[in-house]
Subunit: 168 residues, 2 copies
Amino acid sequence: MKISMYQASVPMFIRMLNNLAAVLDKGAAHAEAKKIDPSVLVNARLYPDMLPLARQVQIAGDNAKGVAARLAGLEPPKYEDTETSFPDLKGRIQKTISYLNTLRPEQIDGSEERSFTLQIRGQPVTFQGMPYLLNHAVPNFYFHVTTAYDILRHSGVELGKADFLGTR
Amino acid sequence: MKISMYQASVPMFIRMLNNLAAVLDKGAAHAEAKKIDPSVLVNARLYPDMLPLARQVQIAGDNAKGVAARLAGLEPPKYEDTETSFPDLKGRIQKTISYLNTLRPEQIDGSEERSFTLQIRGQPVTFQGMPYLLNHAVPNFYFHVTTAYDILRHSGVELGKADFLGTR
């Protein structure tokens, strides 16, 4: 039966974005319990030249919607990066999931060899659907979801692997 | 054409383990340049109750060989966790990649519905090949590879996304 391009992308992105939203809930609850200004966590980084939590969440979502749209041959919607709080970031995730839910399997399946050109550091790079998804999009997505989780763990939020993997 | 179970597992694991080995090289070079005892980096953590770099690397590899072996219906090889240095960890990665290279596509393809039982926190849990790979094994693998990278970034090693994604 093999894995369809849809199965390897949209449901996985939605699952992990839901898990990330639940991880953010724990971050918000931790800030409240410890009387920490939540914006300290929203702006927390693992290193001065790494991106803060808010950007990790925004980029994870942008990656998901960008990849899914490109595989479907659509222009991904653009969202302004205006989120400054946990509720804002959760709203951004929900908006992204709502968009992903508009994409039907038949729009994405069959995109294994579909090619498209992206600007990477100012240079046009042409990708084919399957190698793009497996070698570029999926690792990039997981990079930002994991780093968001790692920022909150590093900030003392009590999270475990089950929060990352989810139970759905 | 769709994505085969082999395509979605073994070559991706090998690619990311090679990237991780190159990231460790940069960690070792950083320790030498800054006259830092390399074991400080090998034992570095993002938080006291998170696992250190060495364990992240070991678990990422164990995940890769465990998943691939189970999909092939084989018992994964067991490696002792004895690595205490960058060269040790690179050796562990190479040993894991050598094992992965013994697995042929025809052993893993068709495992979408193959079921197997794992002990998770002492409880037997039965998984089917495809949901196991996409919902459990792949996120878990990326979690540990990303966290290994994040530990080194957090420790001041100069790494960029290109090191994580690789150029192969």
